[in-house]
Every structure is written in structure tokens, then in C-alpha cells.
């Protein structure tokens, strides 16, 4: 990747505009075949392409990726819960805070690259073998009924990843006949990777390692990340 930017972007380095023609061409393929199905995108030149597609266009997006864009290699499928954790980083001891703590407002869920309107988003990555081209596709799943079309008919490898996303986030994948638990016991209740699911080990006993960097002996620069431009080797 380093020599890519060196060769193709060298003339433009002076104008401070970094372009990434290969990924822009890839984006154009999705826009051409999905039309309004492409809601938003985010392009980091030389690093990655994120495309958010409409919920109805999710299955079609997989077909376009495989058949039109040449991204035949299935990488992974997962989900992100954008709500901040009500437990924070479990810094507080369980006796100080009520359990369970109040859930954050729905408006606190801020989506990442390429935006989003739902609390939980499904994202999947597909790549083109032999190159460094890859697209991360995102899709909103409705808050009240988390349900999305399956990819398992197009990418066989998605079947297991959907099983994992199903048990971890409670997302239903229409068309995936086998959504049994893959990691958790069959009778397990709840969806562990949702933010409201407590990490009970931490609730029972606060983690002593939450303070990662202890104050330097004799130093008075603790709690001030900006001011501590120390040599990394000392840390």
C-alpha cells in the first residue's frame, strides 16, 4: 500500500488532495446497480471504503458485490450496537451504583462511518482476492424488530457469521434456516454483545487494571493525557 500511494498520488501530494481511483470506481459500481439503495458512503483514500445501503437493498448489495464489483471473497459479517454502555467501563464498584443502571437515551447512539439511523447496525466485509480492495457494507436494522435479509444464499460463509450475530445481538436473518446458537449454550438468554448486557464478572468485582498507567514516582502529571508526551519506552 505504501508504494501505491507513493506512485499514484505523488503528483497530487502538493495540492494536498489524496484521491483513490480504485475505490472510487468500486463505489461507482454500487451506486450504478443499487441506485437509491446506497444511502451514504465514507472513503478513506488508500485505507478503506464504507458503504451504507438501505435495509431493503441488503441482499441485492451482496449480489452486486459478488457479481458486479468482483468482490467474491467473503470476509466477515457482524453487528455494532451504537448505544453507549450503561455500565461505562465498569470503573465504579457495584455498591456505589444501582444495578442495573438506567439505560442511556436512545439519542446517545451515535453511528460511525457512513452514518446510520438505527441503534444496531449490521456490517459485512467482502474483498477481491489478489488485491487489497475491500468494501465494508453497513445496513440499519429496525430498532423494534431487528430483522434483515440473509446473505447465506450468496456467500455460503455468511451462514455461521449470521448465527453468531443472531445470538450475540438478537438480529433475525430472514432466509437463514439454521440460526441455532453457535457459541452459547442452547438455553442461554440474552444477547451478550448488546451494550445493556452486563459483564457480570466486572459487576461482581471491579477490575483493578482499569487504571492502565500508574503515576510516575515523584511526577505530578497523572490524569493529564495531553501533557504527558513522555518517551513511550518508559510507559
Amino acid at each position: 500500500m505504501a508504494d501505491d500511494t507513493a506512485t499514484t498520488d505523488a503528483p497530487e501530494a502538493t495540492s494536498d488532495v489524496v484521491t483513490d481511483e480504485r475505490r472510487e470506481a468500486l463505489l461507482a459500481v454500487f451506486v450504478e446497480h443499487l441506485g437509491d439503495g446506497v444511502i451514504e458512503h465514507h472513503l478513506k483514500p488508500g485505507a478503506g471504503l464504507w458503504v451504507r445501503v438501505a435495509t431493503e437493498a441488503w441482499a441485492l448489495a451482496a449480489e452486486v458485490a459478488r457479481d458486479k464489483a468482483g468482490l467474491r471473497w467473503f470476509d466477515f459479517l457482524t453487528a455494532v450496537d451504537w448505544l453507549p454502555s450503561p455500565y461505562g467501563r465498569y470503573e465504579d464498584s457495584a455498591v456505589d451504583v444501582p444495578f442495573p443502571p438506567p439505560m442511556p437515551e436512545r439519542s446517545a447512539a451515535v453511528p460511525g462511518y457512513a452514518g446510520g439511523d438505527s441503534r444496531i447496525q449490521v456490517l459485512a466485509s467482502v474483498a477481491k482476492a489478489g488485491t487489497d480492495l475491500r468494501v465494508i457494507l453497513k445496513v440499519d436494522v429496525p430498532d423494534d424488530d431487528p430483522r434483515i435479509a440473509t446473505w447465506s444464499g450468496i456467500f455460503a460463509g455468511a451462514a455461521w457469521h449470521e448465527r453468531e450475530a443472531h445470538e450475540m445481538f438478537g438480529i433475525a436473518f430472514d432466509g437463514n434456516a439454521d440460526l441455532r446458537h453457535i457459541y452459547l449454550p442452547t438455553e442461554f438468554e440474552g444477547h451478550p454483545l448488546r451494550k445493556e448486557f452486563p459483564l457480570l464478572a466486572r459487576v461482581v468485582k471491579p477490575w483493578p487494571g482499569i487504571v492502565d498507567v500508574e503515576p510516575m514516582p515523584g511526577g505530578d502529571d497523572e490524569d493529564d493525557a495531553e501533557a504527558t508526551e513522555a518517551e513511550g519506552g518508559d510507559a
Partner: protein, 391 residues
């Protein structure tokens, strides 16, 4: 099984005759259910396979994992960035250092810092040493699963040379926890380069031994050639990676094609592929990759640049908000971390894309129609580490 050659059919006939007593039990009207695992000696780890049999042939196989699920993705959300390396060391425990690299690279990408060249080269050396330690054990284990004892002992013996080198740099034989955001914990100890080159020589002769002892063995060939064939398009749609993908003729190696800062683009090396897609080709590609890795390490040792091993990083690491996905070519295949940061001291969400999860997800498809002894050979050739499946 149209793919079987005559000699293979003969081998099956012999095996069936020898196991006549078992065959009586297996030949039931509506098939028999064969449960392997979760504690089965042939699955090296707690993987459970439930195969439905018609005689000696598998009609359907269900692969069950999760007996070792440790919830790393949830745990990452409550750890700080430097603490995550300790966790991810335990994913693929035979090549631990390689697990740290993509995560650190993803964090560095978000922080827009770059490790100094010397750190990148040493990272690459340790990355390749992890591959050699991991895959050399695979070769021994492969032979063990097919009934040969000696190669396993040779593999354990020669892997020790590599582990010693890893240990003398990092202090850890299995869990180095050596990679830092912005560089490495320490520089190489004195005299290490010469020792490493000697060890690489040992490993090359190990590869030569194995090529004759295992790969040239008639029994090994009969049990792997033409068995468990994965066509290239199926391999891609399951997301197979590493030698499993290259064994199906797909010429793709993230080290060459999607290198993220490591020193591979400055070296002279070759990506090995095999067109057959059967168990043999997957194993063969792995052997070639160990040999290639020893040459890579030699070149890295020769060209090691001088300079610092740590970039300037804040003492308390806060990663700016953003998302990054970095994948590297780990011993088992493509391993990536999707890191979502909210500008905090720890990640907001980490998705661990481990190679074995995708690699083993093809097993139900692949095992359909094979014979019972081939289950072992095929699973061995897919090569998975349970920690890498279950995370």
C-alpha cells in the same frame, strides 16, 4: 466418490475388510449417528462433530464449536488498548505474536502514528517466527493424525529452536505480549541474529525431512490426494484464507497484496499456490510456506535497519474516534480486527475476524459424502486452532 483413484478404492476396501466388525454396526437402515468429540483425540481441541452415516459414508455432518468461547469481543470493550494484546495472544495460541500485530496496526492507523522502520522489521521477523513455530507443529500433528508418530516428535523438537528465539526476545514462549502501539517493548538481545539464522537452517532441514518422510509417503498421499476437494469459487464464498485458499489455486496473500506497513514489500519471496484444492495441496502449500518463511527471516536479519524501536506516543493512549479494519496473513490465514473507537482509552467495539472460524465453517459442506477415516484427514488438512474458532 468419482474422484477416487483405483489405489484409493483399494485402500478403502482393505480398511473396510479390516473393520468388518464395525461395519456391521454401522450398516443400519436409517443411518447411524457418529459423535466425535468434544473430547476426541483426533480433533485437537474441543470441537464436536456429529456425523450421520450411511455405512462408511457421511451423509451429513454438523460441526459444533463454542466449548471454549471466552467472549473476547466483549472483554475488549472493557480493556484499554494496551491491555487488549494480552487477550488476543490467546486466540491462536501456537502463533501468538501474530495475533497482536493486526490489532496494533489498526490502533496505529487510527492514531495516525507509524512505528519506526526497525520496529516494523522486528515485528515482521517475529511474525514469521510465529508462522514457522505454528505451521511446523501442524506438519507433525498432521502426520500424527494420519497414524505416524515420528514426525510429531521431530516437529516438537525443531519447533523448540524457534520458540527459544521468540523467548529470548520477548520473554514468553507462547504468549509474548511484546507488541506496543508505536513500536515494540524492547530491542533484540545481543547475538540474536546469528542464533536465529542457525535456527532457520535447522528448520529448513526439518522441512526437507518432512517433505520426504511425510509428503512423499505413499500412505499419506493415498489418504490426502483427491480427498476433500474445495473448488476456488467455493473457497472464496466461505471466506477461506491462508493455505486453504492458496491450496485451491487462488493466488492471494495479504503479505504481498495488502501489506500494512510490515517489511514484506522490501523482500524477495514467493507466494506458493497449488491448483488441486485437495487435502494434499493444502498441506503442501503450508510446508512450502514454512520454508519460504525461513528465507524471509534470513533476509530480514540481513537487512535489519538501525534506529529507535518506539515512536513517540502519549503515556496514556487515547485513540481518536473512527473505525479501522486491518487484516494480516497470519499462520492460519487472514486475521483481522475491526476496531471502533470513540476517542476513549479502550475500544468501543472490536470484531475479531479469525481465520479458523471461516476455515472450519466449510466442514459441513466438505464432509458430506466422504468416508469416516477421511473426516480426520480432511479436518487435519483444514488446520484449525480451537482458540481461533471460538475466540
Amino acid at each position: 466418490m468419482t474422484l477416487m483413484t483405483e489405489s484409493q478404492q483399494l485402500a478403502y476396501a482393505n480398511a473396510q475388510a479390516a473393520d468388518g466388525r464395525v461395519n456391521v454396526e454401522l450398516e443400519t437402515d436409517d443411518g447411524m449417528v457418529l459423535n466425535m468429540g468434544p473430547q476426541h483425540p483426533a480433533t485437537h481441541g474441543t470441537l464436536r462433530i456429529i456425523a450421520r452415516l450411511d455405512g462408511e459414508q457421511v451423509t451429513s455432518a454438523d460441526v459444533m464449536c463454542g466449548y471454549m468461547h471466552r467472549g473476547y469481543e466483549k472483554l475488549c470493550e472493557v480493556r484499554t488498548y494496551p491491555q487488549v494484546t494480552t487477550l488476543v495472544n490467546r486466540i491462536d495460541w501456537l502463533g501468538s505474536f501474530a495475533n497482536e500485530v493486526p490489532f496494533i496496526l489498526a490502533a496505529e492507523q487510527l492514531m495516525e502514528i507509524e512505528a519506526p522502520p526497525r520496529a516494523m522489521w522486528i515485528r515482521t521477523i517475529l511474525f514469521e517466527l510465529s508462522r514457522i513455530a505454528n505451521v511446523s507443529l501442524f506438519i507433525g500433528d498432521l502426520a500424527l493424525q494420519l497414524g505416524a508418530q515420528t514426525p510429531a516428535f521431530l516437529a516438537f523438537r525443531d519447533r523448540e529452536f524457534v520458540l527459544n528465539q521468540i523467548e529470548s526476545v520477548t520473554g514468553g514462549r507462547f504468549h509474548p505480549n511484546f507488541d506496543r502501539i508505536g513500536g515494540l517493548k524492547d530491542d533484540l538481545p545481543k547475538g540474536w541474529i546469528a542464533d536465529t539464522k542457525a535456527a532457520m537452517g535447522r528448520l529448513r532441514s526439518f522441512c526437507d525431512d518432512m517433505e520426504g518422510l511425510v509428503y512423499g509417503n505413499e500412505i499419506f498421499q493415498t489418504r490426502t490426494r483427491g480427498i476433500g476437494v474445495i473448488p476456488a469459487h467455493v473457497a472464496q464464498s466461505y471466506g477461506l484464507s491462508g493455505a486453504n485458499l492458496r491450496g485451491s489455486g487462488v493466488d492471494w496473500d495479504l503479505r504481498r497484496d495488502a501489506n500494512v506497513g510490515l517489511a514484506y514489500d522490501q523482500l524477495d519471496w514467493k507466494v506458493w499456490t497449488h491448483p488441486d484444492g485437495d487435502s494434499f495441496s493444502r498441506c503442501w502449500v503450508r510446508l512450502q510456506e514454512v520454508r519460504e518463511a525461513t528465507k524471509i527471516v534470513d533476509q530480514l536479519c540481513d537487512g535489519l535497519p538501525s534506529g529507535p524501536i518506539m515512536a513517540k506516543v502519549p503515556r496514556i493512549i487515547k485513540v481518536p474516534a473512527g473505525e479501522a479494519y486491518v487484516a494480516t496473513e497470519n499462520p492460519l490465514g487472514a486475521m483481522g480486527y475491526y476496531v471502533v473507537s470513540r476517542g476513549d482509552i479502550g475500544p468501543f467495539r472490536v470484531k475479531i475476524r479469525s481465520a479458523s472460524f471461516n476455515n472450519i465453517s466449510i466442514a459441513p459442506w466438505l464432509l458430506r459424502g466422504v468416508y469416516v477415516p477421511d473426516i480426520i484427514a480432511i479436518l487435519a488438512s483444514l488446520y484449525f486452532i480451537l482458540g481461533d474458532i471460538d475466540r
